[in-house]
């Protein structure tokens, strides 16, 4: 029996999947994202999972989530509030009620909603009966029971059978979004190509979910989201961590250098290491070191020997790398250190996002020890900034820290695949064999970069190391004036990078009442909030920084044209403090959040409206 329901056409829809960390939530989310990309929607995703591998089942703390925002219009964030929530148990419902849009569709697995389960989630009464779900379109689907029924014929054991539940959910969503279920079939055939029995069982469950949705009365409406208009080309769904790994490989190819990674596993950065260990066919040397110190030190050794050398980590690991960074600064070797920031200090909130390593990246070393600091701002542009970090490191012979964060690392968006030949060439400052004029610390006039002579090259034997060296000759020197000169040269070299990076851009008018300033991974939320307010007629613009040290040359010009400046970041004001020290002539308001969560567009707009309405110089 086919029913007729209304189809709601939408510019964008937010879907949230939530359940126990063993429920296959991340897979369902990824599958939904890929299908969305396949049908041409723009998208952004946000996986949000507990720090424990198998957190206590059925508890709110153990809920694993995956949010997907799809759109016909441009999508910049995973969205504040969900239009559709799939809750596999009461805990998943409880954890997500705050993030639901009024009238949202909630699909629950009714088989997990008995009193034992809702008590585990700290509900006192049955949430299905206590009135808390009034105003929502609740679909009570017997997901577990029906899945078990369907797979019985395949003779799978209960544990494996229950793992196919996510395909029941997928089936419901195919119907709910008016999508061709064949796409889902193809996905499963590909995913389980080595396990034919699993293909059969999963396909059967997928169809069961689809058929269930088609017949059940409870679903009041379905959605249609037209394809996005992103411009012709080949796209893929890209997460920040993979984008960093790939950006580095691309940079190595454009620099004609071997890519070397020295790294030690740490959430949320491990994927960069894992991804690069898969790149042996491209000649990548990915070395899992015994700790973060060995990670960076092996990279420094590899840089000395001529590699594009990289070390990837998260906050605690960056702390361990401080001494190594100092060595790379004084030896003036190219090095990229990727810091995927997470909630700190110490182990903090290891699976959550934060922007609180900025000061450490800028200043966390002994001695006068400037390094270039960049920050990527979307999952996909992690590719671009990893490439850029490598370019600056090699062309300017300096360590570069690239800041990413947990939100960018695991989140994804559609990325238009570039051709490698269209990426800029990276010109390493190599020296010819037996060059009689080679001096280890002679410099290029424009960049102040020294040259890169590699062990194994005839006629260029020299020594580098942690002791201060004489200008030009590179022999050990304890001379006080030489030390000051070298210190200033090293600092100036980093400052001069400003002449080789793009000007800071402003989104919106070049002048106005309020300039929103952000950096790194908050771009999506800040952009969307500011854009919406511009459309509402507000005098507001955005400057999102990717180049942190040095700052682009035109920042002061930009700041001058706004009545107020508010610096928004996921920490207690580190970039604001930095700007105060660099450009003290301006007054900086702040908006900060340290909950391990990204900004919500609604909270940003509320704050900006507040600031716009407050008389000058208040609200600080």
């Amino acid at each position: 029996m086919k029913k007729r329901v209304k189809i709601i056409e939408r510019d964008d829809v937010v879907v949230k999947f939530a359940g126990d960390s063993g429920d296959g939530i991340q897979l369902t989310g990824a599958q939904f994202s890929d299908t969305s990309a396949f049908v041409g929607n723009d998208l952004a995703t946000f996986p949000d999972y507990p720090a424990e591998i198998r957190a206590p089942q059925g508890t709110v703390a153990g809920v694993s989530g995956f949010q997907v925002h799809i759109g016909h219009k441009e999508v910049q964030t995973p969205g504040d509030l969900a239009d559709v929530l799939v809750a596999m148990n009461p805990a998943a419902l409880k954890a997500n009620m705050r993030w639901l849009r009024p009238g949202a569709t909630i699909i629950i697995d009714i088989d997990n909603f008995d009193s034992r389960h809702y008590k585990k989630a700290d509900y006192i009464e049955d949430p299905l009966k206590d009135g808390s779900l009034e105003g929502y379109n609740v679909v009570e689907a017997p997901i577990t029971e029906m899945t078990r029924d369907v797979v019985k014929q395949f003779g799978l054991d209960a544990r494996v059978a229950d793992k196919t539940k996510n395909q029941f959910v997928a089936g419901i969503l195919f119907w709910l979004f008016n999508r061709d279920v064949k796409i889902g079939e193809a996905f499963l055939k590909d995913r389980f190509k080595k396990k034919p029995d699993l293909v059969k069982a999963n396909l059967a469950v997928l169809h069961a979910g689809y058929n269930y949705a088609e017949t059940v009365e409870a679903i009041e409406a379905t959605y249609k989201v037209k394809p996005a208009e992103k411009g012709a080309g080949l796209y893929r769904n890209m997460t920040g961590n993979v984008a960093i790994a790939w950006g580095l490989v691309a940079a190595a190819e454009r620099a004609k250098r071997t890519l070397f990674l020295g790294s030690y596993p740490i959430t949320p950065a491990s994927e960069i290491l894992q991804e690069l260990t898969k790149m042996k066919s491209l000649g990548v040397v990915a070395f899992q070191a015994e700790d973060e110190i060995a990670g960076i030190c092996s990279a420094i050794g590899a840089a000395f020997a001529g590699c594009l050398a990289v070390s990837s980590t998260s906050g605690p690991g960056l702390s361990l790398k401080s001494e190594g960074l100092g060595l790379a600064v004084i030896t003036e070797l190219p090095l990229v250190v990727v810091d995927v920031q997470r909630g700190g200090p110490s182990t903090g909130l290891p699976t959550k996002t934060e922007q609180s390593d900025l000061m450490q990246a800028l200043y966390g070393r002994h001695g006068e020890c400037q390094v270039v600091v960049l920050a990527s701002s979307t999952p996909a542009n992690c590719f671009e900034y990893a490439f850029e970090a490598a370019r600056i490191a090699i062309e300017h012979m300096t360590p570069v820290i690239l800041l990413s964060d947990g939100y960018l690392a695991n989140g994804s968006e559609l990325w238009k695949i570039p051709a490698v030949k269209d990426l800029p060439e990276i010109k390493a400052r190599l020296v010819k064999d037996d060059d009689p004029d080679y001096k280890p610390y002679a410099r290029d006039i424009e960049t102040l970069a020294r040259s890169w002579a590699l062990p194994g090259q005839p006629g260029l034997r020299h020594r580098v190391g942690g002791l201060e060296k004489s200008d030009i000759t590179g022999v050990i020197s304890y001379d006080p004036y030489n030390h000051e000169k070298m210190t200033i040269l090293r600092n100036d070299k980093v400052a001069k990078v400003a002449n080789f990076i793009p000007r800071q851009e402003v989104i919106g008018n070049e002048s106005g009442d309020l300039l929103v300033v952000g950096w790194g991974g908050t771009y999506g939320a800040l952009y969307t909030g500011v854009q919406e307010m511009i459309e509402e007629g507000k005098s507001i613009s955005l400057a999102q920084f990717n180049y942190i040290n040095p700052l682009p040359n035109n920042v002061s010009e930009i700041f001058r044209n706004f009545k107020k400046i508010i610096v928004c970041e996921l920490n207690l004001g580190q970039f604001a403090s930095y700007l105060r020290s660099k450009l003290p002539e301006f007054n900086y308001l702040q908006f900060n959040k340290v909950q391990g969560l990204p900004f919500m567009i609604s909270e940003l707009k509320e704050k900006f409206n507040d600031v716009l309405m407050t008389p000058e110089n208040h609200g600080k």
Partner: protein, 338 residues
């Protein structure tokens, strides 16, 4: 020599003299290496000396090769990066007892365990030289030093034991007073494929003078040093009249010709044996009951990390459909939009 590039001692000398204290054992080690390298046939441009921090770690500044003076304890990690980046280089790590076994202990054991083709010269002066005389992880228990005014209460490491505990495949011990022994052993280390650890018993004239005197002094050395050579009997003493035999699980010193002991009864040194039980016993030999074992105690073949890494890369490359970065970017799930 398989190499057409002939080097001489002069090739490895710097214009400026080494800045260790006059009489420091370091000078002799440097001279021995400068003599050994030409005999290895390695091209001078291919040699890289890497170090940590300490008196001993100044070494790269005093030898005319490529050099990297690193961080305290981290030379092993830097050397690892260099070797993996360019396995054709001959990479030598110079380290002290504090550098390798205190702050750098972790990197030290992992280098040995991985068995990269790197040569380690461990200057064991049983003291922190550069920081002026605090005790180190090899300082004998009870020693009074700057940081142990009432004597240390720690048991020292034996580098050889640590090396074998970390699955090291090459371990040798030399003294800084014996140029010929150093040279011979350094050449063997250079020829060994894999991590080769040479412990140099080095004298620090300033902070720990004569710490090795019992085995280096002219009068005592013949009796107190057992210079081991593969395939030769374990004989020592002024006229090689003393030797080692095994009784049960223990060694015993005997005199050839006394109590019916014949030369044939003396143990033959087998450095190539994979079983390290006897090697352990040899590195532990201690005064006054036994002589100290010198020379190449252990030298056995095992798979080498850098070799395996590049072999794996070649294998993967031959099988993979991803040959360029463009292939990579377009692999897997992609979506084309009009």
């Amino acid at each position: 020599m398989e190499n057409n590039c002939i080097t001489t001692v002069q090739d490895f000398k710097m214009e400026q003299p080494a800045k260790w204290c006059p009489g420091c054992g370091g000078h002799a080690v440097l001279a021995a290496i400068q003599r050994a390298l030409p005999e290895t046939g390695i091209e001078k441009e291919k040699v890289v000396f890497v170090s940590g921090i300490g008196c001993s770690s100044r070494f790269p500044y005093y030898i005319n090769t490529y050099g990297f003076h690193g961080l305290h304890g981290r030379g092993a990690a830097i050397a690892t990066g260099i070797k993996l980046a360019n396995p054709e280089l001959s990479v030598w790590l110079v380290t002290g007892d504090g550098d390798s076994m205190a702050i750098g202990g972790n990197h030290f054991i992992h280098l040995l365990r991985r068995n990269l083709d790197i040569k380690i010269l461990l200057f064991n002066n049983k003291i922190y030289g550069l920081t002026k005389g605090q005790y180190s992880p090899t300082t004998p228990k009870g020693s009074v030093t700057k940081s142990s005014p009432d004597g240390t209460i720690e048991d020292p490491f034996l580098p050889g034991e640590l090396a074998m505990g970390a699955q090291g495949n090459f371990f040798a011990r030399v003294v800084d007073t014996d140029l010929e022994m150093m040279k011979e052993v350094f050449i063997q280390a250079a020829r060994h494929k894999g991590t080769a650890l040479v412990e140099v018993l080095q004298n620090c004239v300033i902070f720990n003078d004569d710490i090795h005197a019992e085995i280096t002094s002219k009068e005592l050395r013949a009796e107190n040093q057992l210079y081991l050579k593969h395939g030769e009997p374990m004989l020592f003493g002024k006229n090689k009249e003393l030797g080692l035999i095994q009784e049960g699980t223990r060694f015993k010193v005997v005199k050839v010709g006394e109590n019916g002991v014949k030369k044939e009864d003396i143990l033959i040194h087998n450095a190539l044996d994979h079983d390290d039980t006897r090697d352990y016993m040899l590195v532990r030999l201690s005064r006054p009951e036994f002589p100290i074992a010198m020379g190449v105690i252990r030298s056995c073949e095992a798979s080498v990390y850098d070799d395996m890494m590049y072999k794996q890369m070649a294998e993967v490359r031959s099988k993979s459909s991803i040959k360029t970065v463009d292939d990579l970017l377009c692999s897997g799930n992609t979506f084309s939009m009009e």
